[in-house]
Symmetry: C2
Subunit: 228 residues, 2 copies
DNA sequence: ACTGCTTTGTGATTGAGATCACAGATGCCT
DNA sequence: AGGCATCTGTGATCTCAATCACAAAGCAGT
């Protein structure tokens, strides 16, 4: 996997607090980017680790997870190519709030904290974009709280599918396809239900014709899925 | 309840993104503050409402809640005197992510969005403080997610008590007293368990000597409570 | 194609906690 | 003081989903 200037500008374009910088400033940043490969299931950031880098994904997917005392895994998010992560600890200097694991073989670019602070956080426009980003993360977290707090298993799984369809979906004649491979286990960890329960709910949604599998790999959420 | 300059400066002092402004700038802000009374159980902000104001509490307490489809109430936070809220919608211009209800009779100060943007968000130092604030809110939300996701009822209630003790606690010889009146229902709504379950758990914690009630009103969390 | 790992499907059992149902307490109002 | 409303305590049920337990299906590597 090669990483060139063109890729870099494309990535920056998708990151609001970088997109607002001048080409000149972006070049400065590009010159301090480090690129590294990670293999499937490899841990990229460990929870409670000191803040070190701001990361963006050049290829592959990662998951953001948290293990509870019983060793169960709660999945907080999945990030794909051109997404970024690790900004929290960079911004407040505290330890990482979660563990990041590669879901595939990944190529990750990263920028040290000091470079990030020097090159990005001195720009007022960028600061405002960062605020907007944090607000949206916070809104996501709160809507997740509402789901995990009281919803029953069926609702949790539906909500999980909806969230993934917003992030990874492409519209189709019949509905929306979620363009990443999600196992029942992934879905269960995200929805905070057991794998078996997730499997049963998925089966029943398929029987009801609300969803189907494409190539035995991708979820297609039919229109009927969205009309509750 | 009177509200004077002295109160105002005291409040600002507790709000990092205002504390960093000059006395001059604070006076400008003070001159646009509106003060209003709300009565117990009155709704101050309704979820999905358009962003209108930044609020701070001059006296009283408010709760941040969300109702699910079944009409159950999930409590996301309690704010007390000198705390503030409503910054989310001011910052990103979107609707309020939750409903705010007065828990007592309250006196609330507020600032319109345009004044807030003009007077606060033009200052780089303030922007950085706001970022720090959002990060900490996000960390709180995430730790809450971990609890609601997988913990069993007993753990949820203990976690709720711990969180309240951090925000409202004063240390004592025997432990920490939570200085606000919390009903079992409040605790249950915060921990996302039923009122009855919360009551039973509290009873058993009292039997175990880990907590006790002061004046039949305030929780005292004994040292043993904290050693798991 | 054979071996072994991961994923999926589905029954059976179990259990934690929601719900229902009161009764007694505690406040709060006039 | 007396009356109403809100809280609290605790049993008895009931239900949803976790857990246990396999078998079958996919898939990946040699």
């Amino acid at each position: 996997m090669k990483f060139n200037s063109e890729d870099f500008f494309k990535i920056c374009n998708g990151i609001p607090f970088l997109a607002c910088l001048s080409p000149r400033e972006l070049s400065d940043i590009e010159s301090v980017v480090i690129v590294k490969k990670f293999y499937k299931n490899q841990i990229i950031v460990l929870e409670e680790e000191e803040a070190a880098y701001f990361y963006f994904i050049i290829s592959g997917k990662v998951k953001v997870i948290h293990y509870n005392e019983a060793g169960k895994e709660l999945m907080l998010a999945i990030h794909k190519r051109y997404d970024y992560f690790g900004e929290m600890s960079i911004l407040d200097g505290k330890t990482s709030p979660a563990t990041i694991v590669a879901m595939d073989d990944c190529t990750i670019g990263f920028i040290t904290r000091s470079n990030f602070v020097k090159l990005v956080m001195s720009n007022e426009k960028s600061l405002q974009k960062i605020i907007a980003l944090l607000c949206s993360r916070l809104r996501d977290a709160w809507s997740m709280l509402n789901i995990l707090g009281f919803a029953e298993a069926g609702e949790k799984v539906r909500a999980a599918l909806k969230i993934f369809s917003q992030k990874f979906g492409t519209p189709e004649k019949n509905g929306i396809i979620i363009n990443i491979k999600l196992t029942h286990k992934d879905l269960a960890n995200f929805a905070a239900v057991s794998r078996e329960t997730a499997s049963r709910i998925i089966s029943s949604l398929m029987k009801a014709g609300e969803i189907e599998m494409i190539d035995n790999k991708y979820f297609l959420l039919k229109h009927s899925f969205f009309n509750k």
